[in-house]
Symmetry: C2
Subunit: 246 residues, 2 copies
């Protein structure tokens, strides 16, 4: 069982069915599957299903319970989310650090992420049931994230903590060899001189600047071929105009 | 001007006004303020205002334009978001790395984060206008984040890249000094022996286990006082029962 499968998301008293559906969608995108609803005001509800979109099966398999105790049953770590400082909350961790701890714990037991309702969040009594209190860094202390947005950020951090930050590999293009790149610079220098854009006696900083520009691009083999082709075409034009001038 | 203030969020052809409002709220929570809408299907709209909640002023000051070109005017870096691999997208970066680059750029110029509409995302032509293509790591290639959820994750990563991952400081409680902690252990050992819970001739692993438990807690001064008080009360009870037994 993967770590993400041992993590449940608990929404404690959610008011708006749209947020329940959007939370389900956020979870599914990040590989989470266990949604627990404590005394939701309206559920099931068409708005929840609409916002869940492709995560309707996850929403349909959500567990509905009537107390936070029931929601935490069987878990070994509870992480409560708050947007506000609390006098006795003790140390509050950023969601990124809390996600790392959740994934570590999930290798040996079930973990619950607990979110309060839209109106007032988790009560102090609810937070006291959680060993870890977490928050999402935000611009102002009282800047409130929407409930489903908070679930999305937490689920994203769990996914990155579990699976890493790698994204799919871009289609592989062959990188240019350094000899081919040096040959390109040499060709460019000859052509620029033939064009009389570069004065070999007063080269100023043109060549170093071109090197700096192309160094940043990590040239691919096909790109070097294109640039050599452009240079060769310029060489032809110069040659032709010389013949013409004779 | 802070880096976050030089970053605009461009929604290219959003269909659902709710997502426009929710994006505004996500931005405000993370310290972003410039929202640009390219040919929104319905805007302004009551659903946008409702989902914006406290970010209504940000929503009201959104710029509406009719082309992506107009939306990118004045920017020096455009980062396009996609959930799908594209043959010619080149390297795709994870949102965390793209956010770090955006913040670095924003110290010298305006940066645009570009998100496509709900139905089909950014076209290849749109992505070609962006120097950086970014994606949000997710469980499955085709797992789609809701548009506003994607804006929330990106805005969160920008905020963390700009302002760091620190959260507010918990109310400072004074940590216990190591001498006080050692005195606590010594007291506990005496009391446990007096209680006959600990046999000094066969202590087994009781004392090391208690040390290990409390070592994890980072004892505070007031907590040591409470624990010493409990031990002293036990000492009294033992004393009283001895007197009683006489």
């Amino acid at each position: 069982m993967s770590a993400l499968q041992r993590i449940r998301v608990v929404l404690n008293g959610p008011s708006h069915p749209g947020n329940i559906g959007a939370s389900a969608r956020a979870m599914q995108a990040m590989g989470l599957s266990q949604l627990v609803l404590v005394a939701p005001r309206c559920f099931p509800h068409p708005e929840a299903s609409a916002r869940a979109a492709g995560a309707a099966p996850l929403l349909d398999s959500a567990t509905v319970v009537d107390s936070l105790d029931s929601a935490l049953r069987g878990a070994t770590l509870a992480i409560g989310f708050t947007a506000r400082p609390r006098e006795f909350a003790g140390a509050v961790r950023a969601v990124r650090d809390a996600a790392a701890e959740a994934i570590e714990y999930a290798s040996r037991g079930d973990v619950a992420l607990v979110f309060g309702g839209e109106l007032s969040g988790l009560s102090n009594a609810d937070l006291a049931r959680c060993q870890v209190v977490a928050t999402i860094p935000a611009a102002a202390r009282h800047a409130s994230l929407n409930l489903a947005a908070a679930v999305q950020v937490a689920a994203y951090e769990l996914f990155v903590a579990a699976e890493g930050n790698a994204v799919w590999i871009a289609p592989a293009f062959e990188s240019a060899g350094l000899e081919a790149i040096e040959a390109l610079y040499a060709h460019a220098e000859r052509t620029l001189a033939a064009m009389r854009f570069l004065n070999p006696d007063q080269p100023r900083r043109l060549l170093p600047r071109l090197r700096r520009l192309f160094a940043r691009t990590r040239l691919e083999k096909a790109e070097v071929d294109i640039l050599r082709g452009v240079l060769a075409r310029i060489d032809q034009l110069i040659e032709r105009s010389r013949n013409h001038a004779r």
